[in-house]
Structure formats: structure tokens, C-alpha cells
């Protein structure tokens, strides 16, 4: 494995170069293993589609020292037991006010609105990672016919519950925020609650199916 520098207090470990369930599973395994080590020098771990980004405390350990420690531990990863996955069903109201970019998606993909919805609901997605905002699941992979680019200039406000598309990913805004995804619908599902543990409904690796509300 290659440990790449990310600024002064980051380490980036790359497992592949595309959105791919096999690559993502490698990330998940590594991330969960790393978490199980509970190293106090590691401040945060951000696993994503194909890489794992570590923020470490550069006051207490150097990049070189931490990398050599992690390299030493690598051999045990394959024997590490990864936990079970959950399956979540998410009801969505597509188009209309809650889906302001449905029109763009229809015109860009040259599909009808019904076809867009059918394609979006017919896939069982993998939670490739959680991030961007608390509890936001990055889901993939989208049917290739639904490929759309991100907005060139992000929107200042995207409402909570918005279901968006970007390239071959789909996701759900857990809070109102700025964002650059093409929004096609809205859900009432609660994905994150800061008052109750576990805070996050979904975990990396879980499966998700959208249904028409």
C-alpha cells in the first residue's frame, strides 16, 4: 500500500481509480481495521469511494513514523472481521418542487421523467461513503443512462431531504446546505440525529433502495 501525503497532517491511501464495489470494499475493510486500532495519534478517518484519508496529530507523531507503524500493521488486515451490512428503503417524491433539476436531467439524458424514476428506483445502491454533511450517503453506482454532470457553480441552498445526482453517484441531503448536485426528488426519511447514538442511520457499505413515495 502506498501512503501519500496530504498537506502536513494528512495521509491518503488510494485503493483504486474509479467507483467500483470491489475497490470500495477494500477501503471499508482498511478503514474499519484502522478504526479498530484506536490510535490516539489519529484524529479522524475519512473513508470514501476509493481512498482513505487520515488526519493525524502532527504534534505527537511525524508522517514518517505513523506511516512506518501502519506499514507494520498491514499484514493483519486480511484476517480482520468486517461487520454485517444493513439494507435501507428510502421513499422519494420525484420531480416537482422537490426536484428542481428533474427537467435538466430529462433533457440531458434524453429520457422521460418516468424512465429516470424507473432507473433510479431499480438499482440497489451501495453506501460508498458518508460525508459532505453529517449522515449524507454517497450512493452508487447509478445506471449509466442517468449520468449527469455537477452544477458548474454550486447552489447556495439545497433543502434537507433532497435526492441528487452527480456523475454516477446519487445521494440524500441530510440538512439544508449549498451543493452542486442535480436534485431530482425529496425524501422525509431521517438520516442523521445528533442526539442519539448511533447518530447516523447508514454506515459505509450498507445497501439502499429508493421507492416512489
Amino acid at each position: 500500500m502506498e501512503y501519500l501525503r496530504y498537506g502536513e497532517d494528512g495521509i491518503r491511501i488510494v485503493f483504486g481509480d474509479r467507483i467500483d464495489p470491489v475497490i470500495n470494499e477494500k477501503v471499508r475493510r482498511y478503514y474499519l481495521y484502522l478504526k479498530s486500532l484506536a490510535l490516539k495519534e489519529i484524529v479522524d478517518i475519512i473513508p470514501s469511494f476509493m481512498s482513505c484519508l487520515i488526519r493525524f496529530n502532527s504534534e505527537t507523531i511525524s508522517f514518517e513514523k505513523l506511516v512506518s507503524y501502519l506499514t507494520e500493521k498491514e499484514s493483519r488486515i486480511s484476517a480482520f472481521d468486517v461487520p454485517e451490512l444493513a439494507v435501507h428503503e428510502i421513499p422519494v417524491v420525484y420531480g416537482g418542487e422537490g426536484g428542481p433539476d428533474m427537467e435538466f436531467v430529462v433533457s440531458y439524458t434524453k429520457l422521460s421523467e418516468d424512465e429516470v424514476i424507473d432507473l433510479h428506483t431499480s438499482t440497489v445502491y451501495t453506501v460508498y461513503t458518508i460525508g459532505f454533511m453529517p449522515g449524507f450517503p454517497y450512493l452508487g453506482s447509478l445506471d449509466e443512462r442517468l449520468y449527469v454532470p455537477r452544477l458548474e457553480t454550486p447552489r447556495a441552498k439545497v433543502p434537507k431531504g433532497s435526492v441528487g445526482l452527480a456523475q454516477l453517484q446519487t445521494g440524500i441531503y441530510t440538512y439544508e446546505s449549498p451543493g452542486g448536485w442535480q436534485v431530482i426528488g425529496k425524501t422525509e426519511a431521517r438520516l442523521f440525529d445528533h442526539t442519539t447514538e448511533p447518530y447516523c442511520l447508514m454506515k459505509m457499505g450498507d445497501r439502499v433502495r429508493f421507492i416512489r413515495a
Partner: protein
């Protein structure tokens, strides 16, 4: 108890940040000027990590309904207690009923207000920091508005203390921000980056008025992407200080409110220059310069030693 009379443009409770939950997408939401925040608690003889108020903008005022020591750090402000002028980066004793006012900002952008004692802030996932977007932590998960009252547990009168003039960091524009090369640096043709490397005065950007606590947007000549390069990446982790380049080619410096980004990462602002990000205000001139990781580490070590020495000195 203290009562917010005027909240300025934006005032909210912060601390050192919320860590350990980035895998659920929970960002640090930390005080943007970490040194000013730390020195505030030093001046107040509070434990490190005590909640403080981060303020942006002049016309901030509050009434103090307790006998308590207060301090102001961060941006250099023109402030008064009951009409009497206050020194920058200095703690002072306030009697019950005192009025603290900030009339003008002379240098910098954000400042920190605190009290000897503990402000009754909401503790969420190991931090007092306000997450404005998600509305949790700090004061009811939101910024202060006129009339808010926040309790101080165990207010104390401490001996006033001051940070020497020479130890207050400079915050004047133009700002030079040094950065370590990021994973997508090669997305940009050398010609487009040339000006960043040349360290010439014509590579200036202006801080956009669309900047906020999530990111600082820069305006100026956009960076060009190489042909055939996708203008966005498969979303990946980012850390505070990451410079993202969206499709329009104008840099956004991410602060402490995001864990993942989908735009090309040009680089990461060096730790030594990160506190300065708190003081970039709309219209300020900014230039970006590359540094090697080793050089950035050295810059930080120098600064950290200075900070440590200050903390030890003033803690006494």
C-alpha cells in the same frame, strides 16, 4: 449571565473542534483562528477547550450580568467597557451591569470574546462548537441574535493579563497563503499554474463576498483545466485548508465545515498560515504560493514553538 445586545454580522460559540466523527461526515466546526482562541482561554485562566464566542463584524455589544473577567483576542478591534477604551488581546474585570462594545475592526476579521468561567453551551459529540448548517452545538445550534442570554457557570474575577504587542500576529492584507501541493495539482497545465510558482504580485486574487464559514471563495483570473481532464473528481476526503477548484476555475479554500469534496484539490494551506484564513475579508487581496511539505512543517514548527512559549509564559 451575559446578554447579547448586538450580535455583529455573525457571532457563535466555538471551541477547538469536533473530532472523531468525520467518518459520519461530521466536520470539526472549530474556531477559525486557533491561536487567538487558545490565547483567549490562557488570558482568562480557563481550561483549554472552554467555549468562546467567535464574532465577525463590528457593532457587537453585550451586557455582562455578573462580576467576571473578560477578554478579546483575534482581530484588532476598537472596543470599550462602559465607554472606556480597551487594549487589544488583554483581559479586564467587568462589574455586574457592564456594557462591552466593539465599534470598529482595525485589522483582521474575526475576534474572540470570552469570560473567566464556563459559558453554558450545548455539548454535542465531544464539542461545544456550533454546527450552523445542522443546527447543533453551541448556543441552541445557532448564531446569536439580539436579546439572547447565556449563563456563565462559576464566573471569576482574575488578575488582568495582556499579550504583548509583538506577540499579536499580523492580520493585514495583502495575505500570502502558502500551500502544499494537493492530489489533483496535475489537473492544471503548467502555464496556468506558472503564476502561482513565480510568486509574483500579479497572481493576486480577491476574497469574494460569497465567502462564509464553510469556505473562502477567491475571485480573479480562473485557473484553466487541462484538456481531457474531468472538471470534478470522485468525491474524496478533504481537510481544513484544502483549496478546491470547481468547474469555473476559481479557488475555494475550505475551512472547518466539510469532510468530503468533489472538486479538484489544488493543495492544502500550510498549517502556519491556517489561522490567517479567519481574517480574510471580502475584498482583501490574496496570493497563493506553493511550499514543499518539509518547508511547511518547518514553518509550523517555528510558529508552534512561539505559540507554546507564549502559552507557558502567559499561563503563569
Amino acid at each position: 449571565m451575559i446578554e447579547i445586545i448586538h450580535p455583529g454580522w455573525l457571532s457563535l460559540i466555538v471551541d477547538e473542534g469536533r473530532y472523531g466523527h468525520a467518518d459520519s461526515g461530521v466536520p470539526p466546526s472549530a474556531a477559525l483562528d486557533s491561536f487567538a482562541y487558545k490565547m483567549l482561554n490562557v488570558l482568562l485562566k480557563n481550561p483549554s477547550g472552554a467555549p468562546a464566542i467567535e464574532v465577525m463584524g463590528k457593532d457587537f455589544s453585550l451586557q455582562i450580568h455578573a462580576d467576571v473577567t473578560c477578554a478579546l483576542t483575534g482581530a484588532r478591534v476598537e472596543a470599550t467597557l462602559n465607554g472606556e477604551p480597551l487594549e487589544p488581546w488583554t483581559s479586564f474585570c467587568a462589574q455586574r451591569g457592564s456594557m462591552l462594545k466593539v465599534k470598529a475592526i482595525l485589522e483582521g476579521f474575526r475576534y474572540y470574546v470570552g469570560f473567566s468561567g464556563k459559558m453554558d453551551a450545548e455539548w454535542v459529540m465531544n464539542s461545544f462548537s456550533t454546527n450552523l448548517e445542522c443546527r447543533f452545538g453551541g448556543f441552541r445550534g445557532r448564531q446569536f441574535v439580539k436579546g439572547d442570554r447565556i449563563r456563565i457557570t462559576g464566573p471569576r474575577m482574575e488578575k488582568p493579563n495582556t499579550i504583548h504587542e509583538k506577540n499579536i500576529p499580523g492580520m493585514k492584507p495583502p495575505h500570502v497563503l502558502r500551500f502544499v501541493e494537493g492530489p489533483e495539482m496535475e489537473y492544471f497545465p503548467h502555464e496556468s499554474l506558472r503564476r502561482l510558482f513565480e510568486k509574483k504580485a500579479f497572481s493576486w486574487y480577491n476574497v469574494s463576498s460569497k465567502s462564509n464559514r464553510t469556505g473562502i471563495r477567491l475571485e480573479g483570473e480562473p485557473l484553466a483545466f487541462k484538456e481531457r481532464v474531468e472538471k470534478s473528481i470522485v468525491s474524496e476526503g478533504i481537510l481544513p485548508g484544502t483549496i478546491q477548484i470547481p468547474g469555473d476555475g476559481l479557488p475555494i479554500i475550505m475551512l472547518h465545515e466539510r469532510t468530503i469534496g468533489g472538486y479538484a484539490r489544488l493543495g492544502v494551506i500550510s498549517r502556519a498560515d491556517r489561522d490567517l484564513l479567519a481574517h480574510l475579508k471580502p475584498g482583501d487581496k490574496v496570493t497563493l504560493e506553493t511550499v514543499e511539505p518539509k518547508e511547511a512543517e518547518q514553518l509550523w514548527n517555528k510558529k508552534a514553538q512561539l505559540y507554546d512559549a507564549h502559552q507557558k509564559h502567559y499561563r503563569r
